[in-house]
Symmetry: C2
Subunit: 148 residues, 2 copies
DNA sequence: CTCTACAGCCGGGAATCTGCCGGTATCTTT
DNA sequence: AAAGATACCGGCAGATTCCCGGCTGTAGAG
């Protein structure tokens, strides 16, 4: 359980982060392992919680979310439940990081229009001061963590 | 190609964002479609670029990246190529958003230790002023965009 | 109104993949 | 040296995916 990952495990993680639907036979081929050995390692990684799941990646602009923004929320209070409830209800809030510094939360928010974004910001502003920056572009194709 | 998505498409996206490895037979069952019809829709979504890929989700702390930070980079220059090269080389930089406002870039950075983070910040600081906030926790299980 | 074209869906069968089993080699422990 | 543990391989049964032909409902042309 506390075992560390070897080079093969890292290769497997790299492959599955690039293509989560890679068949185990092909995965085995790429990491120079038989399909069953590769399967066993993947299962182990899943059971250990290293791989937490598999997700389809959706192009936000292709589904109507044309506006992406980073919102920093200064939340002076200590009662975080109402905010967490909002986060759970609003799927437009794609990511929420609680951070050090003046701004307790950094959110990534998707909206279909400026009006939509404004409404989301208004909801968030109930909790504290917000700082919003629109996102021009994602500069990176996600590849996830690699071997340190 | 410019076609909009119907409710079934949204259901498919929701299911595949929750579990990208859902078998097409089970997917069809969940959205009340035959396996072949579900397959056809998924293929169409992939071909249209709505689904851009599938990824395994990796727990950063389980693979040794114990430190997560949000770094904002004020980059006054106009030559972005060197920065982009760094982003491509450093897989610790998980995400890079180019934004409006004083800070041109907002980065999500993973590191194995404070020393490692410091080194990354130093590399980034060559390009401009940085503001770094450590991340206590991810508050959200990713579920991706849902029907607007 | 009818006919044709087309899009979406269904079912079936071939090819492929997954999950499970037993067997082998290597390394550690006793 | 023997016993045990670990990681790997090959093979097979069952499940899944892929591809095909056929069916139905809608839209547009005649």
């Amino acid at each position: 359980m506390t075992e560390s990952l070897d080079a093969t495990d890292w290769s497997i993680l790299a492959e599955l982060q690039r293509d989560g639907r890679l068949p185990l036979t092909e995965l085995g081929r790429r990491v120079s392992l038989s399909a069953s050995a590769a399967t066993e390692r993947v299962k182990r990684l899943e059971a250990a919680g290293v791989i937490t799941g598999y997700r389809a990646d959706v192009d936000l602009t292709k589904v109507g979310f044309l506006v992406l923004a980073v919102v920093r929320l200064k939340y002076p209070g200590s009662r975080h439940e109402p905010l967490h409830r909002l986060l759970g209800e609003r799927s437009e809030i794609l990511e929420c990081l609680r951070t050090t510094g003046d701004d307790c939360y950094t959110l990534k928010v998707a909206a279909t229009s400026m009006a939509h974004l404004e409404q989301l910001i208004n909801e968030l502003a109930q909790f504290g001061g917000t700082t919003t920056n629109l996102v021009y572009s994602h500069t990176l194709p996600y590849r996830g963590p690699q071997r340190p």
